[in-house]
C-alpha cells in the first residue's frame, strides 16, 4: 500500500494504491490522519486501489469524521467494481460522496 498526494486548486487529492486491509490499515490511518490535519477539501483517488476490507473502511470512516469535525469535506473517485460493491454492502456509499471521475469530483467539491 502506498499513498501519494497532490493538489488541484484548493482540493487535496490523496491516491491510495494497493490494498486497504487489516495489514495496511494501521499505516494508512497514521498517514491519513497527518495529511488531513488543517485541510478542508479532500478527494481520495482510488483508481489504483485493489481492494478494501472493513479494516480499510474504518480508516475512511475515521477520516470522514476528522474532516467533518473541522468543517471539511471528503469525496472519492476511481472505485473498481469490488471496492464499489464493498461500499454499497456496508452502506458507506450513502454516507460518503462517491464521484465517477476526478473531473467530476473536482467540479463538485
Amino acid at each position: 500500500m502506498q499513498i501519494f498526494t497532490r493538489t488541484s486548486n484548493d482540493i487535496h487529492i490523496v491516491s491510495i494504491a494497493g490494498s486497504l486491509d487489516s495489514t495496511t490499515s494501521p499505516e494508512a490511518q497514521k498517514s491519513l490522519t497527518a495529511m488531513l490535519a488543517g485541510v478542508k477539501k479532500v478527494a481520495l483517488d482510488f483508481s489504483e486501489l485493489d481492494y478494501i476490507s472493513s479494516a480499510g473502511l474504518r480508516v475512511l470512516l475515521g477520516a470522514a469524521k476528522q474532516l467533518r469535525a473541522s468543517g471539511g469535506t471528503l469525496g472519492m473517485f476511481g472505485l473498481n467494481q469490488s471496492v464499489r460493491e464493498v461500499f454499497e454492502i456496508s452502506g458507506f456509499s450513502t454516507i460518503l460522496s462517491i464521484y465517477q471521475s476526478e473531473a467530476e469530483a473536482l467540479a463538485a467539491m
Binding site: 486491509d21 487489516s22 470522514a64 467533518r68 469490488s82 471496492v83 454492502i89
Partner: protein
Amino acid sequence: MQSRAECNFPTDRRGELGHGFRMSVGAHPGGVGEVNAALAEFAEAHALPEDLRRDLSVALDDLLANALSHGRTGPDPCSVTVEVKLDQERVTVIVTDDGPPFDPFARAAPDTTLSVEERPIGGLGIHLVGQLMDKVDYQRRDGHNVVVLVKELANG
C-alpha cells in the same frame, strides 16, 4: 514469529478435482498478510477473474482479522489453516483454527443505514464476508472451528 515455511503444508497440490493450496499461519496480523499474498499468487497462476479474487481477499482478510480480534489464538504459531480449492464451478476456502468454539456468523447484521456520526467503528467485517460470498458455513468439528466460504465462478 515462526515463518510460513516452518509450519507450511505443500503450497501447490493438484488433484483430479482441480487445483488448490493449503497453508498454515500463526494467528497474528502477519499471518493474514501471508494468506492474502498466497491467494493473489494462486489467483494469478490460475487466471481467476480480478473481481472474484478481490472479493475473496476482502472475505479472508475480514474473517481472519475477526478471529484475531476475538482472541481465538491457540498456542500453536501455525494454528490457523487456510485451504483454497478451485474447480470448474467455484472457489472454496476452508479456514480451520483450534481456538475455543466461535461461530463468526452468529452475530446480528450491523445497522448500515446510520450516518457517519452515529456509526460505531467496527462490526462490519463479517457482514461483508456473508454478502460477498455465495455461501458461508460454520461447524465445530473435532475441537476445531471450521469456516467454509464458497464463491461461484459464474457469479464472479
